[in-house]
Amino acid sequence: MNALPLSYIARNLRVRRVTTVLTAAGMALVVYVFATVLMMTEGIRATLVATGQPDNMIVLRKGAGAEINSGISRQQAAIIETLPGIAHDAGGRALASKEPVVLNNLPKRGSGKPSNVTLRGTGAAGLALRPQVQLVQGRMFRPGGSEVIAGRAVAAGFQGVDLGATLRFGGRDWVVVGLFDAGRSGFDSELWADAEQLMAAFRRQAVSSVIVKLADADRFEDLRQRIEDDPRLGLEAKREERFYAEQSEALANFIRILGTALAVIFSIGAVVGATITMFGAVASRVGEIGTLRALGFRRSAVLAAFLGESLLLSLLGGVAGVTAALAMQAVDVSTTNFATFAELAFQFRMTPAIAVQSMLFALLMGFVGGFVPAWRAARLKIVDCLRAA
């Protein structure tokens, strides 16, 4: 006789319902925290990765790291536009967008507390460079007008950002004339206005970044070298995808480290719970263990049965935890990204990898918690067991 049937294991859990539910609930909470942290990290990453286009290049001042720190003069921007390797539109104009970026402090809906919203000056070229941005309501801002269009998340998250409403900044009133959907990318958290008007309002002589479309995405290195070697410029170039991925790093890492540390601490509590439960299960079934052994079941079968019970318990907890975490996908989160000092909206994002990792984490807790009691059950002497019963 090799193994005890699974139904025997499962029935034991059912007999001690309250204990099973309490232990599984503890594990479910730990798995829930573990999964939501990973989902948050993934959500931030996915949002910012979707922001960059593979064939776009962004140019910033050397060492700036973020658009708000950067400054590129008009002359420098003009030089960049003339470099070879940049795509051109049907009219022969270089597909380059010279963009001033300003942070604008607006009150959040609900709490009324202010947070920074990225205000980007752009133009027709900027829209052409970002195919994921679609106007869903209203119209595009007119060049030369004090008008802005707002990303989906800004309109949803901030007070006074409604179609037709006015926002006051830079000594002027700006009318919100359109709302756009940027396909769950970082642009959803931005306000866009005419670049020239924005520079005039804030008395700026320099733009923050220049974004260009590469004629051939594979020739990025050539262009990068050309820009970074040009002594007139003092600028650096990055693939847009990489630039935005880097912006997600600080916040995503922070949440991941903090969250994982918490989940590990919590798991100690849940493992203790599982150990107590399994010790209880062993203690109350000493006679049963003796009978099984007397019937011919081996020590390994007893070990497997108790370990199986613990794993099944953690499986229950894991499924409950992951299911609860799945519901979090409906929640929109918005917080300040340290790298840009501006608000970034994102969603919790479940991936198969996260689900698998969470389940493995649950099973690991079940294994660690169940092993010592199961080991002890397997080591019991038949005679002692039967005498105790």
Binding site: G63, S111, K113, P114, F169, G171, F266, V272, V333
Partner: protein, 384 residues
């Protein structure tokens, strides 16, 4: 006394189980305390702020500079005693991981506004004389092992290039709430360099405005902002505390999550503890029936269960509380300058004990209710 001895004996009858439960409690209570301390540390800047200082910044956002010329007009506002200014420098010391706040300030006007930064007279004079000089907080100097006269290179992000500064002074906080992780440099040096490079200078990040009477903060703020309304650079003036809280609220989503998580761990341990008590009660069914048969009332059984649960939870809670202090110290060391002030507050300790108490009560509630109602005959029969 008899009851207490019975409780002790009962609690440690299953030594391993009780010990495991206590381990769980220790972990939960110390984690709860640590999380609350992290949240507190976030608010530390606001706690340390002075009610006699206002911060005037651009109405658009902190990143939009204001013209230096505003200083004169601010000084003329009724109720204002002193005016100084600072710029966020945002330099990197060796790597991004060594983050600490750096401000370019005007030493002559800035230091009188921050009396809580204790700096010896000799060091203050030395700093004022050396335009490339900087002063840093004691904790920061200790972290990087800086001594007076050391050269500190910073890679600029906002002000490009590598800047070499000389350490001229180390300040200490007047009390534990003062941020000793800052570096202050000469605003004049930065300004000159910017002007030489781009031809545009004389811009500041924020004005720090000293006021005579904290009660007039609201009125003075309004007066200042009215001065600059409809100008090219409109201002927003608030108390230093409100200004600091503005930073806190930016990370609010993370704070709310941390707070939620700190309660989740209490719930987890509640489940573990309740499980322990439920198992204990189930095993002692026959005993309780015997006690009842001997004439002890249901209240006695209830007291036994609650007493045992509370005994375990409070011992565990106390141990967890004691463990929090070294844990917090270790965490503060690892996190370094991320959290300038990191202390376990008295209210956190009280909350930790309260949490342990609640866990003990809740865990015993259901078994106690059930055991007080057992049928003696059924309970005694359970033995067989």
């Amino acid at each position: 006394m008899f009851l207490f001895r019975l409780l002790l004996k009962n609690a440690f009858r299953h030594r391993l189980r009780t010990l495991l439960t206590m381990v769980g409690l220790v972990v939960a209570v110390s984690a709860y305390g640590l999380l609350r301390t992290i949240v507190d540390a976030w608010y530390a800047g606001a706690e340390a702020s002075s009610s006699t200082r206002l911060i005037t910044r651009s109405a658009t956002s902190l990143t939009v500079p204001l013209p230096l010329a505003y200083a004169e007009r601010l000084r003329a506002v009724d109720g204002v005693s002193r005016v100084s200014w600072s710029n966020w420098f945002g330099g990197i010391y060796i790597t991004e991981r060594n983050f600490f706040p750096q401000f370019a300030v005007d030493p002559a006007t800035y230091l009188p506004l921050y009396p809580e930064f204790r700096l010896s007279e000799a060091e203050r004079v030395a700093w004022q004389r050396d335009r490339k000089g900087v002063i840093v907080g004691a904790r920061l100097a200790q972290k990087f092992g800086w001594k007076l006269g050391d050269n500190i290179p910073l890679r600029g992000t906002i002000y490009s290039g590598t800047w070499n500064f000389t350490l001229r002074g180390i300040y200490e906080g007047a009390d534990a709430s003062v941020d000793e992780n800052q570096m202050l440099m000469h605003w004049g040096l930065i300004n000159e360099t910017v002007r030489a490079r781009s031809g545009r200078g004389d811009y500041v990040g924020v004005f720090v405005v000293g006021i005579r009477d904290p009660n007039n903060a609201g009125v003075i703020s309004e007066r200042i902002d009215a001065q600059f309304r409809n100008s090219l650079a409109e201002t927003l003036t608030e108390t230093e505390k409100a200004f600091q809280l503005g930073f806190v609220s930016m990370s609010e989503a993370i704070l709310v999550a941390l707070q939620a998580v700190s309660y989740i761990i209490v719930i987890i341990i509640m489940a573990v503890m309740a499980n322990t008590m439920a198992m204990t009660a189930r095993e002692r069914l026959a005993e309780y029936a015997t006690l009842k048969a001997l004439g002890f009332g249901p209240a006695f059984v209830v007291r036994l269960l609650f007493g045992e649960s509370l005994l375990i939870s409070l011992i565990g809670g106390l141990a967890g509380l004691l463990l929090t202090l070294p844990l917090a110290a270790a965490f503060a060391n690892t996190a370094g300058s991320l959290f300038p002030v990191f202390r376990v507050s008295a209210s956190t300790m009280a909350l930790q004990l309260a949490a342990a108490f609640v866990v003990g009560v809740v865990a015993a509630a259901w078994p106690a209710w059930k055991m007080s109602r057992i049928d003696i005959v059924a309970g005694l029969r359970h033995v067989a």
